[in-house]
């Protein structure tokens, strides 16, 4: 049974000011209702004035997704009552969107290239936000700081065939948006998704309220299971809107009256039609993820997997390019595998990591001044310092202080002697030809010396010591 998925993505554009007024969009950590004016509060008589930057950002996305920009597009009013919507209509675009007919390349579930068609993108304003006071209060509060934040709505054709594909598509889309510099991926609620999902031959279900791209896979996986179970029991899937409950990972039906709207769209009389098709040619696009991935493989000689990981986030790719001069392949392994893992573990951003220190660390590894194990230990120490807001010491200083310089064989003689003496049974097993015994002995030495030696080199030393009878 084929799964069919189409997405509608709302992206907050990272302009400095709102879509129709001069209020700042950066209200994080500020008090409610402090980034408002007559326009975004919808006060009587106030008029919208279109933010050029938002249009430019929209066109940038259109160009990057290979879309067609019609001669004329138009803003329209979407009318509905809700306390977070101060004008009781949202200024959006309806039958004349900013751009139409684009594509995004992803990998399908077999790892093959696949094009997802983009139906349209359009600009619209974000409503305010309701804050429900805890403890069953009789009222809710409204915060209009978000009111008027520019959103780009991106609508796809129903081209995805699994929840995993949907996640990959969103990842790719997010990466493109970040490359274009039109979207701040770290902003909470910066990307919101509605998903349409159906099993071939059955009714379509719309899942709303997915606020993270990780949530999309979860919500869709839940829906696939739910819909298959219905069919298996001989029931029908009903066409409806469902809400995703992020915390519980389930979707629930929301067929309330409020959902059945006639939005009575009509052209926004306070704004002129938009004629911007001629501006597209002048837009300079940055190098996009696919091009950059291919260049990384060619220029730095790194693997497809590393290139893909590194170019998956423009900041990570930039970071890699500043440290690659030390040794491109070594740098790729360390940044894409080790560093990224450590960052994820700490929930840290690459932006917080000093590239010069990492380059120094890579130089120590390249010259074999330290072992990989010591490298990881130093990296962790540096990241912990960064995370705590402390100055990040040069790795050479840490090597010195902690005595982590790679040790040569001679230094270990005493430790090896001690370990061999303390583990006669293991020595016996080794002599009897049990391979695991040597690993155990090496592990003991590593433990005693805190990873300052290369385990392979140590293996030779230990076996040599036992074989030659401990000279």
């Amino acid at each position: 049974m084929k799964t069919i998925v189409g997405l509608e993505i709302h992206v907050q554009l990272s302009t400095a000011t709102k879509l129709f007024c001069g209020c700042s969009t950066d209200y994080r950590d500020d008090e409610p209702n402090t980034h408002c004016c007559p326009v975004c509060l919808g006060l009587p008589g106030a008029l919208p004035r279109l933010n050029r930057k938002a249009v430019e950002y929209g066109l940038k996305v259109a160009k990057a997704l290979d879309m067609r920009v019609p001669e004329e597009s138009e803003f329209a009013r979407k009318n509905y009552f809700y306390p977070d919507l101060p004008k009781a209509y949202q200024i959006t675009q309806y039958d004349k969107p900013l751009a139409v007919e684009g594509t995004v390349e992803i990998e399908d579930d077999e790892g093959h290239e696949k094009l997802i068609r983009i139906t349209r993108v359009h600009l619209e304003e974000d409503p305010g936000r309701l804050v429900h006071v805890a403890g069953g209060s009789k009222y809710s509060l409204v915060d209009y700081n978000r009111s008027g934040i520019p959103l780009l709505e991106i609508v796809t054709e129903p081209d995805m065939r699994s929840p995993q594909e949907a996640r990959r598509f969103l990842n790719r889309l997010r990466t493109i948006l970040e490359y274009l510099g039109v979207f701040d991926g770290e902003r909470e609620g910066g990307l919101r998704v509605d998903a349409n999902i159906s099993l071939e031959g059955s009714e379509r279900v719309e899942v709303k309220n997915i606020s993270s791209y990780k949530g999309v896979e979860k919500a869709l996986t839940f829906e696939v299971t739910r819909q298959k179970n219905l069919l298996r029991r001989g029931q029908k899937v009903t066409r409806e809107t469902r809400h995703f409950m992020e915390g519980r990972g389930i979707t629930t039906s929301s067929r309330s009256k409020e959902e059945e709207h006639d939005y009575r769209y009509f052209p926004e009389p306070d704004l002129r039609p938009l004629r911007v098709a001629d501006r597209v040619a002048a837009i300079d696009l940055p190098e996009l993820p696919t091009a950059r991935k291919n260049r990384f493989m060619k220029q730095y000689g790194i693997s497809l997997n590393h290139a893909r990981t590194l170019t998956g986030d423009p900041k990570l790719a930039d970071f890699y390019e500043t440290v690659a001069h030390v040794d491109p392949v070594l740098a790729a392994t360390w940044v894409a595998d080790t560093l990224l893992g450590e960052l994820n573990y700490r929930d840290m951003s690459i932006a917080a990591v000093p590239a010069d220190r990492i380059a120094e660390l890579l130089a120590l590894l390249r010259t074999e001044t330290i072992t990989d194990t010591a490298g990881v230990q130093i990296l962790r120490e540096m990241l912990d310092a960064c995370a705590a807001g402390k100055p990040c010491e040069p790795p050479a200083v840490i090597v010195e202080r902690e005595g982590l310089a790679r040790a040569t064989g001679d230094e270990f003689t005493q430790v090896v002697e001690k370990v061999v003496a303390a583990n006669p049974q293991a020595v016996e097993d080794y002599r009897a030809g049990k391979k695991g015994a040597l690993n155990f002995l090496v592990g003991q030495v590593m433990k005693e010396t805190r990873g300052r030696a290369d385990p392979r080199e140590l293996g030779k030393i230990v076996s040599g010591y036992i074989d030659t009878g401990g000279v």
Binding site: P44, G45, L47, R49, A88, Y89, P269, L271, R272
Partner: protein, 433 residues
């Protein structure tokens, strides 16, 4: 010569909703001139109600662009004038603050919706006032009260701060006893404002000239046809004769699209109004909603209680006209009719420089006379075409019928407000002399 103006008028005609007894003013071309402002134009620190209970107590935190300009020019803003609720009416009787009476005959209406501004000027309480004109709301009361009123070209005066009724049709405009004062006030308010995206940078800076030799005056047959009081038509024809005497020539023109003008106008204005007025929900300003009810119920009850019958009627009409399945039949068709009228005027303006006719088909009605909404809507037939086409139109007094004032309407090409003003000025100077 900045200062304070004491303003304590004898408001026997109920022209004002709010008066400012101590109105401060600064230096400028209008220094110390008392100016009344229609109550749908936002004034910082002065209550602005649109003649509606739903905005009672609303004090805007900002000035409309025209009010900023008035203050900069030194005008003393002495009060906010009465109006049909949200501009929806032709008589000023739908105001929640009681009807305004016509100074020319207190048993009659002053016209609307800018009836308060017209009455204040006609009664001599202020020399000039601002009105707004969506379908004739400046020109109708100017004609009924015997003063001058100009609806500027759409996009010539900023709507920033004008509480919207029908955005695509309405303009703020000047009202005064003389064409010269109308022109002076127009020079103050018609300046570019980037906050109004529908505006063009075409400031008005003009001193009226009475020289109209060779002016081609178009006479549309539709403006003298059925429904127009023959005595009103005669007064207007006499006035056009005066223009001819001054060297103008008349040419017959035709606006065949007029037959659909009223229908198109009422579909468009009610559609836009249904959306504009949806924000009045008691959450942010005006009387507060009852928080013990669910929000949906609270909105519904508040709007039922505080909007007047005519406003509710137009919200319902507009909501219907935009509804799925009906928008194609009503809203889309109205846009076609509007385009046709615009093209009719463009054609007519190939042969004529201005077009003249009566402002209103009749003189002022008695209070309560137009209780049937349809007959009231029909009286807008001669004024709505200029709003649909976005062209400038002025009403200037041209005699009386049964002692009641009659208005001569002169319309011009887009952005030729100056020419319209000159024609009216020439007529006024001639009959005054």
């Amino acid at each position: 010569m900045a200062g304070t103006l004491d303003f304590s008028p004898d408001d026997r005609y109920n022209a004002f909703i709010t008066t400012c007894r101590q109105a401060t003013f600064s230096e400028g071309t209008l220094a110390g001139t008392a100016v009344a402002v229609k109550d749908n134009i936002s004034t910082a620190r002065i209550q602005t109600t649109c003649g509606s209970k739903i905005l009672e107590g609303y004090v805007p935190p900002y000035d409309a662009h025209v009010v900023e300009l008035l203050r900069q020019a030194g005008a003393a803003i002495v009060g906010k004038t009465n109006m049909d609720e949200f501009g929806m009416g032709t008589t000023t009787e739908t105001s929640a603050f009681g009807p305004t009476r016509n100074p020319a005959d207190p048993e009659r209406v002053p016209g609307g919706s800018s009836g308060g501004s017209a009455a204040a000027v006609a009664a001599g309480l202020v020399p000039m006032a601002l009105g707004t004109d969506t379908g004739g709301s400046i020109r109708c009361p100017a004609a009924f009260c015997g003063i001058v009123g100009l609806k500027p070209t759409y996009g010539r005066v900023s709507r920033y701060g004008l509480i919207a009724y029908a955005n695509s049709l309405e303009q703020i405009g000047p009202m005064a006893r003389t064409v010269e004062d109308v022109s002076r006030l127009m020079s103050v308010i018609a300046k570019y404002d980037p906050r109004d995206s529908t505006m063009l940078d075409r400031p008005y800076d003009h001193r009226p000239s009475a020289d109209i030799k060779g002016l081609r005056v178009g006479i549309p047959e539709e403006y003298f046809g059925e429904g127009v009081d023959p005595r009103v038509a005669e007064s207007v024809r006499d006035a056009i004769g005066v223009l001819e005497g001054l060297g103008a020539e008349t040419v017959p023109v035709s606006i065949p699209g007029m037959q659909h003008a009223l229908a198109a106008y009422y579909v468009i204005c009610t559609s836009e109004a249904s959306s504009n007025l949806a924000r009045f929900d008691g959450v942010r300003y005006g009387p507060a909603v009852d928080t013990r009810k669910t929000w949906h119920e609270a909105y519904q009850d508040l709007r039922l209680e505080l909007f007047g019958a005519e406003v509710r009627r137009r919200i319902m009409l507009g909501t219907f006209a935009l509804s799925a399945g009906y928008a194609g039949r009503y809203y889309a068709k109205a846009q076609v009719a509007r385009r046709n009228i615009k093209e009719d005027f463009e054609r007519a303006f190939c042969d004529a420089d201005v077009i003249a006719g009566p402002t209103m088909p009749t003189t002022a009605f008695r209070l309560g006379e137009k209780s049937d909404p349809l007959s009231m809507y029909l009286s807008d037939i001669l004024t709505v075409p200029a709003n649909l086409a976005g062209i400038p139109a002025i009403s200037v007094p041209c005699g009386r019928v049964d002692g009641l004032p009659v208005g001569l309407q002169i319309m011009g090409r887009q952005f030729e407000d100056e020419r319209v003003v000159d024609a009216a000025f020439a007529y006024e100077q001639e009959v005054r002399a």
